[in-house]
Symmetry: C2
Subunit: 247 residues, 2 copies
């Protein structure tokens, strides 16, 4: 039965400290939860749902037989939900294993201190759209299991492999592959077509790429500016670069 201790547990998972301690993360809403339940890469531990959603998804839930299922009422879902409008179901999933990253013969994303959870989630979704398998995050990036990241990935969290590491050390170790960085005085993004292998380095929203990392970049890429805006959003820049690599 749903109890006060569940409320406390779920609320604690809004904080990274407790997500790390328990090795789990939250997902909310029917669309996202259903997509993550269907993923072979994720294990669901608990479901807290209105009777309505449970009835409609009996088979999906039964197929994952390790799940604890709790039927909750509207006012209970409201207590545990972080959404402005609680939406039918909330689920607790185990964190994914980080897979080994092989950078040869493919495009890999590397993120230097992307701090806004919405930006990180959008970048994960963009990577998934273009079939980028791996994202390497510096330790200064937002936590991929932050609920705002999870909600904005729209399910892509299940498919993209994301690794947190010391990015400078990691890049040092990958010298056999070229590293490209979004910067102001580089090669026009439209000349990227045909590049099949490389690491694309994206910098922090306001500070760009740190000097230590910039030294390891082989080539800079520029999205030509015609108007006056000072910069482009980091996720938008990522989308533009990948679209020129892949289309």
């Amino acid at each position: 039965m749903f109890s006060k201790s569940h409320t406390k547990y779920i609320q604690s998972l809004q904080q990274r400290k407790f997500r790390d301690e328990y090795g789990v993360f939250l997902a909310e809403g029917p669309k996202l939860v259903e997509e993550l339940l269907r993923s072979p890469n994720l294990n669901c531990k608990q479901i807290f749902s209105l009777p309505f959603w449970l009835n409609a998804n009996e088979q999906l839930v039964a197929a994952k037989n390790t799940i604890e299922v709790f039927e909750v009422q509207d006012f209970e879902l409201e207590k545990i939900s972080a959404l402005a409008t609680p939406n039918q179901v909330l689920a607790v999933f185990e964190k994914k294993k980080e897979n080994q990253v092989d950078v040869t013969g493919k495009i890999t994303l590397a993120l230097d201190s992307i701090q806004d959870p919405g930006n990180l989630g959008t970048i994960i979704r963009i990577a998934d759209w273009f079939g980028v398998e791996n994202i390497i995050c510096s330790r200064g990036c937002a936590d991929m299991y932050n609920p705002k990241v999870i909600q904005s990935t729209m399910g892509s969290i299940a498919r993209v492999n994301i690794v947190y590491t010391d990015l400078a050390l990691w890049l040092k170790d990958k010298r056999e592959v070229k590293t490209y960085a979004a910067a102001l005085d580089g090669r026009n993004v439209k000349t990227l077509e045909g590049i099949k292998e490389g690491i694309i380095l994206i910098g922090n929203e306001s500070k760009g790429i740190s000097d230590a990392l910039l030294q390891m970049v082989n080539e800079k890429i520029t999205i030509p500016k015609i108007g006056e805006a000072e910069s482009l959003n980091a996720a938008v820049a990522t989308g533009i670069i990948l679209s020129h690599l892949f289309t």
Copy 2:
């Protein structure tokens, strides 16, 4: 002197109703406020600032002689600020005049019910980056003067002309120019290079482009999907399309 009635007035401007009634909008933080003060397109009505910022920007403020200036203390700025961390200065600007839009010989953006203020702000910033002069918003779009839109435009609000109208009627009237829409089964985005004139129609975040508008589209544009993500964020799609038109 700063008074309770100022607090009430500023707080009311978080709501569209009062922004419409008074014809003004809010901007916060030194970077944004300074950029908007420098714009010849905007009139500032009031500034509420810590002494520190006022001292550093005496000339900038003096140059706009219609401004009422209020020196406030930290705890007062906290009361009127909508930011998680209040940042030195808050200003009230008059709304801009909507300019007539001429669509010939240029690229124009049209937005169908972009409801997320962050997305709308990011799209305005992208338009400014690529030198797109005009954005036509359907009445279902978020208010361009919503504080979240203003903050995420990063100053581009001053430079891009934005018009709210009945988009179907407006497009009907612009038949002399081709309308392109981001959709799933269209022409590859990479074939757009060289197009110098047209209206680019971007749809709602979850529903896409409404049927009524889709009928007025001359050509669909597709960003090829290689991976599995269900969709791309509307602002990211806008950035990708404009980058292929302009680079």
